[in-house]
Structures are given as C-alpha cells and as structure tokens.
Amino acid sequence: MYAGQSVKRVDAFDKATGRARYTDDLCDRRAYVARVLHSTIANGRVVSIDTSEAGKLPGVVKILTCFDLKEKHYFPTAGHPWSTDPSHQDVADRLVLTDRVRFWGDDIAAVVAEDEVAAAQALRLIRVEYEEYPFVLDVQKAMEDGAPQLHEEFPNNILKHTQIRIGDYQRAILEPGLTKVEGWYETPVVQHCHIENFICTAEVEGKRIKVVSSTQIPHIVRRIVGQALGVEWGRVRVIKPYIGGGFGNKQDILYEPLCAWLSLQVGGHLVKLDVPREETFICNRTRHSIRNHIVSWVRPDGTYAARKLESFSDQGAYASHGHSICAKGAGAFPQLYPCDNVEVDAYTVFTNKPVAGAMRGYGIPQAMWAVESHTEDVCAAIGADPLAFRRKNLMPVGYVDGFSKNEMYFDSFNQCLDKAMAAIDYERKYRAYQNQTGDVRRGIGVAVFWYNTAVWPISLESSSCRMVLNQDGSFQLQLGETEIGQGADTAFAQMAADVVGVPLEKVHVISCQDTDVTPFGTSAYASRQTYVAGFSIRQTGLMLKERILNYAHELTRMPAFNLDIVDGNIVRVTDGRVLMSLGELAEEALYSLTDSRHITAESTYQIKSNAYSFGCTIAEVEVDIPMCKVKLLNIVNCHDAGRLINPALAEAQVHGGMSMGIGFGMSEKLMFDEKTGRPLNNNLLDYKLPTMLDHPRLMAEFVENYEPTSAFGTKSLGEPPACSAAPAIRNAIYHATGVAVNNAPANPHNLFRAFTEAGLIHDESQGDRNV
C-alpha cells in the first residue's frame, strides 16, 4: 500500500535539479514579446490612442489597441466548469482589449515587439486620451443610489444578492434575556503572489492556435480562448507545463485570449506575454475584500437564539468568479454554528478596483475572519470560555446539510481542537496569560474553520483518467486534474499503484498537460484533485487490471478471478504463486503474433458527492504594545482531511496554507489611492508577504477519519489550511490586550489605531505616557 505513506514527490528530483520546465523555459527565443498598456484612470472611456511615435521605434512589430478589435467576443474568465444552461453560465464581460475602462490597470492596448526593451519603450511612448468618469472604491458606497455605475445591466453595481432565511429571526430576537453581540469584520484585498508570474505563449500551428500557459485549468483555457476568439474550441490547443504556483489566480483565464489574439494579428508568429510582477498584482486577480456585519442574540445558557449576517463582497471591476465566493462564505455561516433562526444577506458588488477572483479558501478565509472573530466577541460579551463555547455550539456529529447532503460523520471539531490544544499547551498558556499588564503581553487564540470539498452539487464534478501499459509492465497515468505544486501527481501515482498492484516506480505520471491528449478535466480548484481523481483512478485502474488479468488468463489458463496483480507480478491468489511478471505479460501482449493487444484503460467518473473538511488553528502571540507589533510565537493547525494519501506532503500543504493565513492576518494588504484609484503597493517590497524570518516553526496535526464518500478515504486539504490562521491570531491579540482588531490585517498601522482607541497608548506629543 502506497496510500498513507510519505513517499517522495514524483517531481522533486526534477525541481531540485532545475530540470523541471516551466512556460518560459519552453519558449523559443524567436518569440515576439508582448506587453499590455494599462489604463491610468479608474473609470472612463478611451477616446483615442496615439501610437505614431511608439510605432516608429526599431524593434516594434505591431501595436494593437482596443479600437483594432473588430469583432467583439465577450468572454467570461472564471475557471468554472461550463454550463450548458445559459442561466448558470458565468458573466461574459471581458474583451481582450477594452475602450470602456473600469479600473486603474484595465487593458487598453498591447505592443508586440522583438524584445522587452523595445516593448517597454513603446509603452512609454503611446499617448492615450480619456474621458474620465467618477469612480468608486468602497463596496457599500458603490451600492448607493447615484454611485458611479460600472456595468449597465447591474443596477447599484450589485452583481448578485442572495438570501438565506432559517426560522424567524425577527421573532426570535424578542425572547427575553438575550444578549445582543454585534460587529463589523473586514478583510483586505490580497494577492496570491505565486512566485512564477502569470505567463503564456501563443502561436498558430497548422490551422490551430497553440497556447502554452501557466494555468491551473488547461481545458477551461481551451474553451474560453475559443469563446474569446470566436473560433471552434477544438481549434485551440493548450499546454500546461510545470507551474510556479497558482493559488486560484491561475484558476482564471488571464491573458491567454489576448496572447492568442495578438499572435493572430502578427501572422501566427510565436508571441510571449510574460506579466511583470507589478501587473500580476493588479491585472490578474485578487482575493475579494469582504465586509461582514454579524449580529448574534445569545441566551444566558450560552446558546444562540438568532443570528444575522450581512456580507458585502468587493468584486472589483469585472465579474470573474463573482458571487460564488461570497456565497460560499455566506453558506458556511448557518452551518458552522447551527442556529434555528438565521438571516443571511450576501451581496457581491462591482467597484473600480482590480478584479477579484478565486484565491485559496474561496470566500472561507474572509468568512472565518468574521465568524471566528465574532465568536470571540460573543464569548467576551457573555463571559464564556472560548473553547467551551465553541465545543457547545459547533456543528454536531450527524449534522446533514440539506443542499449538499454533506454529513458530519465524525466528531472532527472536538478531535482537532483536542489535538491542537495538546500540541501547543493551550490550557496552561490560556490561564497564564489572563489579566496581564505591562508593555509586552502574551495571548493565545483559537479559530475553527468550515470547508467543503469540490463543487458538487453547484457544478459538474467529473474526472477522467487514462492508463497505458508499457512493455515492461509500467504504465502512463494521465488525468485531467493538474499538478500545480501541491503534490497531486504524487498522490495520483500512489493511488494508481495501489489499485493496479504495481510498485510506485512503475507509474509514470504525465505531468505536462496538453488538451489534445490529456483526458478531459476541469482541473485544479476547490481542493478537489485527490478527492475527484481518486474516483477515476480507482475505476480506470480496476478496468486496466481486469484487462490485464483477462490476458493473463489467456497466457496462464488460470481463471481471471483466481488471479491478482501484486507488486507488479501476476499472482495466483489460491496459493500465492507468482506466475509471471506484469512486464512479461505486457511484452507478450504487445508483440504476440496470435493475440496482440495494446492494453489501456480510460474512463470518466462523474462524482455526485462532496465532503466536509474541518479543522482549527491555535496561535500564540507576544504583543509589544508601545511598538504596535505582534510576534507570532507558536502556531498549530489541526485538520481532519480524511485519510492522508501522503502525510509528508499533507503536512507541507498545511504549512503553506498557514503561511498564507499568517500573511492575511498580520501583514498583507493591497492598497489604493483614494484620489485616483491607483494601486500603491503592487510589488513584493511594499506588499508584505511574510519571509522566513516572519514565521515561527509551523506545526501541523491531523485527525484521520476515513471519509466514507471518498474513493480513498480522503477529502480536501489544499485550501483549508489557509482558512483559520488569521482569526486565531486576531483572537490571540485580543486575549493578550483586550483589543479587538476587526479589520485585517493586524499590522502595526491597524494596531496603532486600535491601541490608541482603546487607550493603551497615548499621543506622545500630549505628555506623559502611563502604560
């Protein structure tokens, strides 16, 4: 059995030696270089673009502007499965270049040049004349009557509003003796910051367009490039080599359509569009900033009588993944702490900011920031112990969600909390850090998270797998699910080796995907790779095995049902005798003069289930109040992700998610100039991604409850680790200081404001301090 073992990553050697090839490494040097000209206003219309000076520069091949776009094929960008039902299709609001500008950084023209210096020079020489409109950056101001309108078909800029109503909130709050707890909790715009920027290349090959892209979703790129160019989807071929991280940003169509269009404008020549870091921050996707308003009515016995959530999600300028992100967070609200009377109103609203899309956690990090900060506030208001309160009110064992039919099969929350508490010595520290005084104080805080694997029943869930047997008994394994750094290929190989019965090294995972040959799949998102691929790997592996054993029957005259494949050998199960190796069989099968077969198997499995994935974070901090600084001393995450296929890689996934959660909670925030809408810190110096020095040791713990809906007992782990770290840190700061930082991140700017308001620090110019 390989599932459950910490085998080495199948791609680790190539990556640790520099042999792994990423998009730019594959690009031929003859490629033209494309650069995009972005708008320098936040809202308006391009009146004219003067390219005369830029066009004269040596090395400039062609300059294309929004006015050169003769056929307008609007396309959606979300990396969602396509829906044949038009009412479920994503909003198609993008063009490869636009004259109607909706954020500072919108794409209005592009330069194709022989090298990057000529391209950059040309960009600087293009003159643009705009008609400027007023713009709006605040999500709630954008909803007001009279606010600047981004898209005519969405009045008050509301992309979508959804409601959840359970019981009767208005009546429930009349119950005598209730304590009302109310708060606003806001998360900032943040960016994925995968270290490989988005990059793609495009060229015409025969009558088709070949795109190589650093994407999570090659088959979706094929469809959308087809839509954007107005060509049949089969005329587009997409190749996805190794990618340097994605985290959801590359679960969106970024510049593949533009790059393909540019190639067509220069006679099909190879064009490379390598997005600079500064543009990756603002012209790709961001995480939705969400402002949440929560009101809870709590009984004296520490249970909820009624709860209300209002969620305002800042979509930025275009729809991308749109409301699905806010809706996921809103959907978690009545489930995590079930209550008989709940009102939820969730709004996704356009503003003149960069486009928000998918980012690790898909709405849940924002929701958990709000819900778990609020839970702490509730505990403080009624004098409850934060742990005891959570244990009492969290989703109980046996809970079933009416919509997804997900069931809480195990006591995951209590198990995870127990394990995390033990790992970080919670009880002792919690007591020791009560009622501190002085400049430097410590605190410890908890947050839990809710997550569900995959997208069923909202969207299609399917996985396709192909196995092709070689002469030596090894086989190629191909899947529509993609390796994006998370280790999916390794988990796939482990599962496939187990199902077929071969040593791990006999499984050759084809990592580089090519939509011409890779089985169809909607690819890497929703923490679903191992879960959904498990079904098709199991089904296809059993199919391959059956074909192999049927052929073994021909060769051995033993009935196939008395045969098995064990460790790469054909074995008679009745006495365990090895009859032949799989290699001997495969060679004979291919070259037999009497019965030659190329033994392969391929199948699609449509998944109509989904699984909860739960866990928690506990964080310990030291707060230097006068310096407005927080040092994270210890942090632990504990997850129930079902059975772990590869514990070492699972642990590594958790570390990465925790790191992202730490940045989200403590330092990261993309800022915009209120006067112009211009981004202020769209580079890796001014955007505070944590470094190795900003982290303590990261601890990852697991509870392994075998997931009954899953082909291998596993469920999501990719995104969950990013969901609860930030509110746990916030709650630890609260424990240390009694100050609630409700606007993430808890960086020195916000701490200064919060500590000043709380009277913990004083204006130094006003005389003596007395902390």
């Binding site: 090298d115 990057e116 210096v117 950059a120 020079q121 600087r124 006068p626 310096m627 407005c628 330092s667 800022m671 100039d673 202020l680 810190n681 890796l684 110096l685 001014d686 505070k688 944590p690 470094t691 190795m692 020095l693 900003d694 960086n747 020195p748 700017h749 200064f752 620090i761 204006d763 130094e764 110019s765 003596d768």
Partner: protein, 295 residues
Amino acid sequence: MYDIKALYEARSVADAIRLLQEHPRAQIIAGGSDVLVQIREGRRAGVELVSIFGIDAMRGVGYDDEGGIRIGSLTSFSHIAASPVIKDKIPVLGEAVSLVGGPQIRNIGTIGGNTCNGVTSADSASTLLAWDAVVELTGPEGVRRLPIRDFYIKAGVVDLKPAELQTAIIIPKVSYEGYFGHYIKYAMREAMDIANLGCSVNVALTDDKKAIRDARIAYGVAGPVPMRAPSAEAAAKGRAVCRETVDAFARAVLCDIHPRDSWRAAKAFREHIAVEMARRALTESIRLAGGVIDE
C-alpha cells in the same frame, strides 16, 4: 534586459572621473540595486551609465592615519557587517547594515550607493549621521571631505559635483572612541523591507557611568533626508543616567522630526514610534556603555 543607452566601465577612480567628464549625462552605477530597478521602472530608462562596480580599490574597511575608520564606498553591506574593525569599534553599523533588504541585497548593495542615492530610509544613513561620519568625495579638482550631515541636500539629492564620486566614508576616532550605540529599524516585516522609521542612538557615559557625557541620535524617514534630533541630544547631555533622562530625551525628539503622512505610515503613528524607538535605543546604548538606568 535593461534599457541602457551605453555603459562605460571604470577601472579606477581616475578612470571613473575621466569617463564622467567625457559623458556628462552619464549616471554612476555601483551595485545597481537601486539604479537597475529604476531603469526597469522607466524612471531612468535609456540612461548612459558609468559603472564603478569594478573598482576594487574602493572596497574594504580599515583605519586611516588618524585612527579613523575608513570604509571604501563600494564595500558591500555584508562585508561591512563581517569586518573585524566594524565589529570592534562600531558594531552598531554592522548591525544596521545587516537589516538592509535580504542577504543577496546585502551582498550587492554598497554603503556608497546607500548614501549617494539620498534616500531617507537608507539603513546605513542614520547610523553614519549619528556617528558624525565624514564622506570623502573625489573629483576632477581632487579630494574633499564633508560631514555627512552636509552631504544630504534634499530628498534624493546629495552634494556630488559633476564628475565627482564618493570614494570613502570615514568615522573619525573622536566620533567613535568611548561611544556605544544601538540601531532600531521599524519595518512591517523582519526582512526584505524598507524602514518606516530608523533610529540610531549612541552615548558616551562619564567614567563612573552615572551620567551621560554625550548622546547622539539620528533618524531615517523622520524627514526628507536622514536627520539628527538636536533637542533630544541636548536633553540628555550631561544628565544623570535615569529613567527621567531617557523619557525626556525620547519626548524631545518631537521638537526635531517632521515625519510625513503617507500610505506607508501615518504621521501620528511615525511620531509615536519615533519616541518609543528613541527611548529603547537610548536604553540599550546605555546598557552597552555599562550604565544602569535607575527606575
């Protein structure tokens, strides 16, 4: 690929001066960690450059004839931090430059570049200012020396005449002997960051360690250029080593500094932190000098 119009590589200081005279529009590139970034940004695209990177004679740390510490302007931050002379005489300078960017930046970044770019956030600058460093400038007319506080003219502008280059930074013996100092960098993360505020303090105590003979304090990012806080210095000089002195010193900095309100940090926040940094940096300097603060 950088948008560079022409590159002239100097082999010696004299060669550099000649090249700068021959190409009056050319700008100097030392380690390049600022210049190249600005070329890429477009701010300096299409420049002519005189590269002084290859002038090894401008590297190294040693003593001059008067016992002053002489740091070649091309000496990298990591080499300054590793220098036995620095570790022995002004460890705070090594500590300060060890907070610049990250390790790779400290290998390419030079102390000359850090001061000649006239940037207020430079981690070396406040410490050099606080130790009364002198810059050595070499040009067609020969060598001149200038106190570093006079070297800074305004944001991004330093007193470099045409065809002149900074060849060394000197910390005179009188400036360092008997002084102990501490630098605090205030930034949003622990590495790869630019200071929101930098504060360098040093003191000389009386022989009995009971009083402050001299105290010096300089800030980065408290104004358009690195600056001293004379009111604070006056508030500490000659005073007893005690908590009141430290607090008076710290509060007095507000009479001197003018931090800016910007998206990087609010003025009120910077002022608050500046006081706290002064308090802590002086406390630590006194401790290093062997003093004990009476609480």
